[in-house]
């Protein structure tokens, strides 16, 4: 008997917890409000199913618990009932899947005017690279990484010379401009995760992954690593600041380009392809 009561309490408690508890997502700071809406819709559909199933169970336990002389019904199957339940479930599932896939379609379609920003992860810090005046990032290769060139930018690629390098410091982004985050790791898996942006993606050594979003709120946001990357994983933090256009421009002007960081004298030494190849073997 107690179990029927507890089952009812589980439903009431879960619903009240959902409605009253202070724990909910962080206020959104990107264009991915659709993700939040899909999530809320999923909560409603699944919450209704959970409540219905558990309350039905509670009723059965209360109504059909063993008493002297009770005999169970003999009812092997009911094609009609089973077909209806299957159909209703399929409709419910489709109702969640369709909007989900629609929003996913947007998520994977990067707008043409998105600015590219590269994030480079390593154990256990974040660095960034912006395309510079030409709007293009130079090529890169993990084999070119050394203390003078921590991001492995190809010194022979003219597109890379004006790239802005932000090593182990905060990233700034202008508000309301779509940005395509190009994600690179030089050692193990990492994941660039800012809860307020909703979007996230793993960073995989040997390849470049990406996601896109539009920052919609100025402020300071914490970056966390969301893919286990070794002992320092829990402490791999960074800062992204979403600025107004003016603040962003003044920040950008204080940053150094790849050419400035390496200096003209050193470029020659770095370009030496024989040295780079030698290291690969």
């Amino acid at each position: 008997m107690a179990i029927a009561l507890v089952l009812v309490l589980v439903v009431i408690g879960s619903v009240l917890f959902h409605v009253l508890s202070p724990w909910w997502w962080t206020p959104i700071a990107s264009n991915w409000g659709y993700i939040d809406s899909t999530l809320v819709a999923t909560f409603w559909i699944t919450g209704a199913v959970f409540s219905a199933v558990v309350l039905f169970m509670a009723y059965c336990v209360y109504r059909f618990r063993h008493k002297e002389g009770r005999k169970a019904a003999y009812e092997p199957e009911s094609k009609k009932l089973e077909s209806w339940l299957t159909l209703i479930t399929a409709v419910g599932v489709a109702a969640m899947l369709a909007p989900g896939l629609y929003v996913w379609g947007q998520f994977v379609t990067v707008p043409k005017d998105a600015t590219e920003v590269e994030v480079v992860a390593q154990q256990w810090q974040w660095s960034y690279r912006l395309p510079g005046a030409d709007g293009k990032l130079g090529t890169s290769n993990a084999r070119l990484i050394n203390s003078d060139n921590p991001l492995g930018i190809n010194p022979e690629d003219p597109n890379g010379q004006d790239d802005v390098v932000v090593e182990a410091a905060d990233l700034h982004l202008p508000i309301d401009k779509p940005v395509k985050m190009l994600l690179r790791s030089i050692d193990v898996l990492h994941d660039f995760y800012v809860p307020e942006f909703r979007a996230k993606m793993d960073m995989v050594p040997g390849m470049v992954t990406y996601f896109w979003f539009i920052p919609t709120r100025t402020g300071t946001f914490e970056v966390l690593c969301a893919e286990l990357c070794g002992t320092g994983h829990g402490f791999m933090r960074g800062i992204v600041m979403v600025d107004t256009e003016q603040d962003y421009t003044s920040w950008l002007q204080q940053q150094s380009t790849f050419a400035q960081l390496t200096g003209p004298a050193k470029v020659g030494a770095l370009v030496d392809p024989a040295k780079a190849t030698a290291k690969m073997e």
């Binding site: 507890v6 089952l7 724990w23 993700i35 999530l39 558990v54 005999k71 169970a72 896939l101 996913w104």
Partner: protein, 608 residues
């Protein structure tokens, strides 16, 4: 050797087996240690799995202590935390749940339920256990290795799993883990072939496939899946072992490790993830399907009612098993694989919700108009439905690709998979132990201790994992030993973490009551008799309790009906055993088109 395997065209085992055809142990050693009797092997598997599971339980306490009270326990460094986390996950999924459901329940129940004298390859069955034990010992050895066990997470993702930034990554920890997994898979394959062949070839006369109890269907399908899925993990482990031990580059691209160029080049870390989850997702159902099967039988028996929609239940098990091989990359939505995969895997993943939902409906519809005995197995079965529905529904969040993006790698995922493949199957394990312990020992488990165990475990587990979803919704990432000062995490989350830790410790200690009960009741439990639950299936109709070597005495039972003839109208009792020829079936419920009408022994052609 047990000679119940059919010869030539004669596919029906003989009803009588001569004394000399059964393998008989000749000494204490071959009877209790190097035993070839599936029942003894089952108890060995279960005992070993529970013992190593106890280690995983203690590791979970240590993790919860750190998460609830960070900074209080000096010995729980981040390195130690990751090692606890990795070993907890791996032990629970592989060495406890897989081994217990298939090696434990599979060995005990398959021969008894299908009416066989033993597994068809008893010697290989024995080897299976000893290799499993070796795998467990190698795993335990890594705790004592220099640098300790690996802390790469149970997913063992390269490159970090074999690099110096991960605990145990450059020491023997990761090697021992990979070797242990390889051994486990070898041992499992031996057992698994046995379970499959026994179900297909070892059934007694009249036991058609559509008369098998759902327990056997669940274990059988899970075993077939495991035989197909584990090779992917096997290959991945061998390749990673090569990468680590001899410097190959299967999964290792050119990287810079702590400022040094590594010698690796050209490997693909994502390829490992595909191999891992090609195994890893079916693995979820390898644990879940036996639980589905067992809980169906618990509900039916204790509600005194036939399982509703038996044929649909069988096809749902088979359908889930097949679909589970095309959903693996839903674990990889944010892995960096091609984003268009998301459309395919989200669709397959949500389709699998349909057969799963059918199973849930049929369980609760079995309760409808039943005669529900609130025994301990029934209570655990009800708790299973609640936790499984809860965990299954949160799967719809994570399976729906775009909803997964903000939630992946947060505590929401941790809460989800613990609810659906931790708590829910373990509820079934407990229900099953309370249900079959009387058959295994001849004694009932103590009722008072059992009820205490049930209430604390069910309510406690729900209180641990339900609120944990909301910690993830706030945005707290998983696999963080401490949260530090993080602007978006309010202090109330820390309070909630303390609460969860207290609940976890409480539930943990309730398991000690369960363990005590297991030992105490062997001597002090109430006498059970042969069929204390008045159940229909063959294991309750044995010659004695516990069943003797050879299970069924001189003659094997002949099966006349399906496993769910409870409360049949007109029958003298509220159950009719499967081997009960009963009154003439003319005009009885069997003619109503239920599965009971399918092929009696007479229509099988008989062995003649």
């Amino acid at each position: 050797m047990v000679d119940v395997t059919p010869h030539g065209a004669d596919l029906i085992p003989p009803a009588e087996v001569g004394e000399m055809d059964l393998y008989h142990p000749h000494s204490w050693w071959t009877k209790y240690v190097f035993s070839q009797d599936a029942k003894v092997i089952a108890i060995q598997y279960s005992g070993t799995a529970l013992a190593i599971g106890l280690v995983a339980l203690v590791l979970s306490w240590l993790m919860r202590l750190q998460l609830g009270f960070p900074g209080t326990f000096d010995f729980i460094t981040p390195e130690a935390y990751y090692q606890f986390m990795t070993m907890h996950g791996m032990i629970m999924v592989i060495y406890l749940l897989t081994a217990l459901f298939l090696g434990g329940f599979g060995n005990y129940l398959i021969p008894l339920m299908v009416g066989a004298r033993d597994m068809v390859f008893p010697y290989v069955n024995m080897l299976s256990y000893w290799i499993y034990l070796l795998a467990v010992l190698v795993l335990v050895a890594s705790f004592f290795a220099p640098g300790g066990p690996t802390g790469a997470g149970w997913t063992l993702y390269p490159p970090q799993a074999i690099l110096s930034g991960t605990p145990g990554g450059t020491g023997p920890g990761i090697i021992l883990m990979l070797v242990s997994l390889i051994l486990f898979i070898i041992g499992f394959t031996m057992g698994g072939l046995n379970y499959v062949v026994t179900v297909l070839q070892g059934r007694t006369r009249g036991m058609t496939l559509m008369r098998l109890p759902l327990t056997v269907w669940g274990i059988f399908t899970a075993t077939v899946m495991a035989l197909l899925a584990f090779p992917a993990l096997f290959v991945a482990c061998v390749m990673m072992l090569f990468d680590r031990a001899i410097g190959s580059s299967f999964f290792m691209p050119a990287i810079v490790e702590m400022g040094e160029q590594s010698p690796h080049n050209g490997g693909s870390p994502i390829m490992f993830q595909h191999l891992f989850w090609f195994f890893g997702h079916p693995e979820v159902y390898i644990v879940a399907l036996p639980a589905f099967g067992i809980v169906s039988d618990l509900i039916s028996t204790h509600a005194r009612k036939n399982i509703f929609g038996y044929r649909m239940m069988v096809w749902a098990i088979v359908g889930i098993g097949a679909l589970s091989f095309v959903v693996w990359a839903h674990h990889m939505y944010v892995s960096g694989m091609h984003p268009y995969f998301g459309f395919f895997f989200a669709t397959t993943t949500l389709i699998i919700a349909v057969p799963t939902a059918i199973k849930v409906y049929n369980w609760v519809l079995t309760l409808w108009r039943g005669d529900i005995h609130l025994t301990i197995p029934m209570l655990f079965a009800l708790a299973f439905i609640v936790t499984f529905v809860n965990g299954g529904l949160t799967g719809l969040f994570l399976g729906n690709v775009v909803v997964d993006v903000p939630l992946s790698d947060t505590m929401f995922v941790v809460a989800h998979f613990h609810m659906v493949m931790g708590v829910a199957p373990i509820m079934v394990v407990f229900g099953a132990v309370y249900h079959w312990y009387p058959k295994m020992t001849g004694r009932m488990l103590n009722e008072w201790m059992g009820r205490f165990h049930f209430w604390v475990t069910f309510i406690g587990a729900y209180l641990i994992f339900f609120p944990m979803h909301y910690v993830g919704l706030v945005g707290v990432p998983r696999r963080y030993p401490e949260l530090g000062d993080t602007a978006f995490i309010p202090p109330s989350v820390h309070t909630l973490n303390e609460f969860i830790t207290v609940a976890a410790l409480t539930v943990g200690f309730a398991q000690l009551v369960f363990l005590f009960n297991l030992f105490w009741s062997i001597r002090h439990g109430k006498e059970a008799g042969d069929n204390p639950w008045r159940a229909t299936t063959l294991e309750w109709q044995t010659a004695g309790t516990p069943p003797p070597h050879g299970n069924f005495g001189k003659e094997l039972p002949v099966v006349y009906r399906w496993a769910y003839d409870y409360s049949v109208p007109g029958a003298p009792e509220d159950f009719i055993a499967q081997n009960d020829p009963g009154p003439a079936t003319q005009g009885g419920p069997a003619t109503r088109g239920g599965p009971a009408t399918q092929g009696g022994p007479a229509t099988q052609g008989g062995p003649a």
